[in-house]
Symmetry: C2
Subunit: 152 residues, 2 copies
DNA sequence: AGTCAATAGTTTATTTTATCAACTAATTCC
DNA sequence: GGAATTAGTTGATAAAATAAACTATTGACT
């Protein structure tokens, strides 16, 4: 019999690459994002539009520039994402009264309603992805990642 | 004065999204990958070709299918990546004697030499990315991520 | 042995995402 | 007031993700 799926994975898992945090993050994220996207598809969302919607529906009133920086995306991609959500009536561009160059992106009631459904979907998916971790371990992971993600 | 870069980040950092592990991984990885790519550019590599080279230069003798599964990439992308490395004389496709459909991807001496330079470059970049974490914390993070990345 | 299903790799096409330059309008700095 | 900077937008181009179709095996089954 040829080598099984699982045994080959174990073989590669003992390489140096498999101990690199960068690589582990890429792999963990690929798994998680694909699970999340699967579930979000039912709401006609993806991980990226979900993230924009989440910030729009928070009370943080982000500008597009802030969305770009926070989500590690180019400003032009934010335009496209906001266009998509706005055309569905989920968010609006509010002119920033203190700086007329700037828009504040805010969720509409429909946007908030959809966001709330999306949150439960995403957190269920996250629950599956992190199934092998205890609550304490999840908190640890969250805290360590936050320090890496927001360093500087 | 308008809101500063840093204060807006703090404002968004207190949103629900900012506590989602999925999001934190995406952001941490974006930072890390861009730093790694910057450094790898001098060797004419990127994170992805580096990963393939690393596995080829290990003693694990991966097939292309195994590379695809392990790196969460489509088989057709592996073709392109191996083509690129092979045309530079860094890896070779060795026919698998026990299954003639399958290639084993192996690093050449030149490939190994370049890989060794790349490892030090990448680990320096990782050091910067994880600058705020102690050794113990890095090990913790590595172990938690590994469990998420290789669950199931 | 012979058929049939499944697998490894490849090619090609399509879509999505990333990157970057150019432009407008508004703001800030001097 | 004028120069430099910034937020948003558009458009072009390159890189990456996704998926179908095809070839050459191999494996399973009878």
């Amino acid at each position: 019999m040829a080598e099984t799926h699982t045994s080959s994975r174990h073989r590669l898992q003992s390489t140096d690459l498999a101990t690199e945090i960068e690589f582990l993050m890429a792999r963990a994220r690929a798994l998680g994002t694909s699970k999340a996207n699967e579930q979000l598809a039912a709401l006609n969302l993806k991980a990226r539009s979900y993230a924009v919607l989440a910030l729009a529906c928070s009370d943080s009133r982000p500008s597009q520039r802030e969305l770009a920086e926070f989500l590690s995306l180019d400003a032009s991609q934010i335009v496209a994402l906001v266009d998509g959500l706005e055309s569905r009536g989920l968010v609006v561009r509010e002119p920033d009264t203190s700086d007329r160059r700037s828009n504040v992106i805010v969720g509409t009631p429909e946007g908030v309603a959809l966001y709330e459904r999306a949150v439960s979907v995403v957190s269920a998916a996250e629950g599956k992805s992190l199934g092998s971790l205890s609550e304490t371990e999840r908190d640890q992971l969250r805290e360590l990642l936050a320090r890496v993600a927001f360093e500087g």
